[in-house]
Subunit: 442 residues, 2 copies
């Protein structure tokens, strides 16, 4: 382990980036200086803030002489003990973090994209340097979820993690539910209110949620899952008819990130299923009442049973809170010459293809209202060995609507069933197809 | 620091008590042995289990020769590295924990009563011995809340902790809300279902919740709060009329443990208010949907804003999950020759008397239905300088009901107002008086 610069004087921190998160980190380092010093044991001093342009407008005043455009020089400086990375994206963030670790700095990062794509490289560099790499802020911002999974639940067996981990899509689906509006108009409103970006792709197509659930799956199941392993469906295809159908079965549509252990016979060889998609969940489920921009992660464990962690999943100050929580921990470690537990990927689990993942489907079908229709539809499910949990038929003039909720079957069986339904002569239209989560596992 | 017995071989654990929690700990130590070894770095071995009677019936089979009635000998044995205390109560638990720490063992405890009464003695002993004393399981069982408060939020300023931390009372109030039944009959049902003890005092009088909120307050606010500091009111006086009144204002009655910072001008001198009492909270509040035996702790912070932690607050397996999470942490510390952060009580805050605590009251009053009544009631509030937020009057024959919700005022002002109302000639009866929480702070 590289020697610590000093174990008595203040610890010196470099902050990379001074956007919405970085500026809040700089503000809190100043405003909470007395408390941070009491909690760590020595004061924290701001050593420098790396920015792209010295003259850009900022939410916080950075003391004279501390701003620099040379981030690489800053993270290598011998008078820096800790580095906080708030730049985001893959490069130059990755190179800067690696250089910081190699120079004996512990690093705190809020960078979900980088960790979900190439966390292994960073974990290995931290391990090799004998330093900490912490990243609570990368998933669901202020909500303490990675530390509880890594530490509080280290004596338990997590079997499932199911989260609303994207505030933009939750805000949109929430509005569609309460106002009955369609996706496009609701997205527009979210953009006007600042809840969605001008280019909303990362949120509405589920990329943001996929990065987060990849990180959660890795930590919960002691394995390596990257964003590329995650089956991903966004909310752009969710219609007001889907939302209405959900309401009719006492459910609500949420974009869920789901990671679950899938039994393969013996515990230590369990595979994982990791996916992001919209799903109907019962209104009585704790996740159903997570509204607007709030996030929540629902965790199921063998011994602890059901847990939920709720809070703000985005925003400068909430994210900065998580960054500073990590900072206090890594600072204490640095002072006591130790490190946290690091990556735990001993289980090395297979990631199951979506087709083999077991789910339940809700299917709403417009059919001709004549004899034999129900039997024909039931046969389509039976042809693919999918058993039906509930069916509801409503006549309306010369056509009828059939709503089927299946029992759990593989996603491949279910999508083949829907494919077959779509080709049937008596089926006018399959108006809504959506997975159903959060109920019984039948 | 006492030298570690060995830093290569297995770590050996003594378990004190083999009741509902202890037996689950013993079971999980066995069933999760492979995972625990992978997460800690060395295997965990059961060194002994201390019980009162060797021949008592148990939920778990303890291997031959590991049962002992000599707990004191067990915690002093040189071949024991870690001690798990699941006995509960003050003595002999305290003496055993102190002896274990003095003998160089790290200790994990689930003992809320002891920690809330005399935590300081234990923290000091751990500090002196250079060992860990961890107790996540003491508050809300499986819900990771102490670690998030101590570590995840170490860079933030917690301003308020509000929790449903007793499952028995939550079950009873929940039933009273959904069934409209009274306290006595609902308690009886809870006892029949095993949700309440034969002697329900500790739960229904709020002693259990008081111990937990004392611990939460100490950790959240970096100070020392004992159970004796907590203002405590149970739910035995809650009537079906209170529950109905709550429903009429879109609220629900919950037994809350509340700890909050109270401004006294400068942050570092803020006092704390710590209390347990039934209160009406809006149905839209995240705590309102916490049902039956579940617990939840709602935390407000400067930067993180609102967080909630939800899960099972009691039970053998959920409590054992928290115990083993702590075990993994203290075992890692022992191997790396370090300890966790220990007690943080640097703020040394004053605990405010209840009379000086600011709350809001909901008051339902049966009055004569004649001119001047509203003015007289309003005057009673004004006499004590209590401003009224909402008032609702309903005539019914020759009497009327007035429902007043006050703005926030000191508890002393509010109780004096109610006292005065009770003595007024036009007031037939004050039918419901209850604090209101979880809304705006006006």
């Amino acid at each position: 382990m590289t020697e610590l610069r000093s174990n008595r004087g203040p610890l010196r921190v470099a902050v990379l980036g001074c956007g919405s998160v970085g500026s809040q980190v700089v503000r809190l380092l100043d405003e909470s200086a007395v408390d941070l010093a009491a909690r760590i044991g020595v004061p924290i001093e701001l050593a420098g803030v790396a920015v792209r342009r010295l003259d850009a407008p900022r939410e916080v005043e950075v003391p004279d002489g501390l701003l620099t455009t040379d981030a690489l020089e800053l993270v290598s400086r011998p008078d820096v003990d800790l580095v906080i990375e708030t730049i985001g994206g893959i490069e130059p963030a990755r190179s800067l973090i690696l250089t910081a670790l190699e120079s004996g700095k512990s690093v705190v990062s809020a960078n979900k994209a980088l960790i979900a794509e190439d966390g292994a490289t960073l974990f290995e560099a931290a391990e090799k340097a004998g330093r900490d790499f912490y990243f609570e802020a990368a998933v669901a911002a202020a909500i303490p979820i990675l530390r509880p999974l890594r530490e509080s639940l280290a004596g338990d067996r997590v079997t499932r993690v199911m989260g609303i981990v994207n505030g933009t899509t939750n805000f949109i689906l929430d509005k569609m539910d309460t106002l009955g509006s369609g996706f496009a108009e609701t997205l527009e409103e979210a953009q006007e209110l600042g809840y969605a970006e001008a280019d909303p792709t990362a949120d509405v197509e589920g990329f943001d949620a996929a990065a987060k659930i990849a990180i959660l799956a890795s930590i919960a199941f002691h394995t390596r899952v990257t964003a590329a392993d995650v089956h991903r469906e966004g909310i752009t295809e969710v219609t007001s008819s889907d939302v209405r159908s959900a309401a009719e079965i006492g459910s609500v549509v949420k974009l869920l990130g789901i990671a679950e252990l899938v039994s393969t016979g013996s515990h230590d060889k369990d595979a994982v299923s990791v996916r992001v998609h919209p799903a109907m969940i019962p209104r009585s489920h704790p996740l159903a009442s997570v509204r607007g921009p709030f996030n929540a992660v629902f965790v199921e464990c063998d011994a602890a049973d059901q847990l939920m962690f709720y809070g703000r999943g985005a925003g400068g100050a909430p994210t900065a809170s998580a960054v500073l929580g990590d900072l206090v921990t890594v600072a204490r470690h640095l002072l006591s010459g130790t490190t946290g537990a690091g990556e735990s990927a001993y289980a090395a689990r297979e990631v199951l293809p979506m087709g083999q993942t077991r789910t339940k489907y809700h299917v709403a079908i417009d059919v001709d209202d004549r004899a034999g229709v129900l039997a024909a539809v039931a046969n389509a499910f039976a042809d693919h060995d999918v058993s039906i949990q509930t069916v509801r038929q409503e006549g309306r003039g010369d056509d009828a609507q059939l709503v089927v909720v299946s029992h759990s079957a593989t996603d491949a069986q279910l999508s083949a069933t829907v494919e077959q339904l779509r080709g049937m002569e008596i089926v006018r239209e399959v108006t809504s197809v959506m997975r159903v989560e959060g109920g019984d596992d039948e």
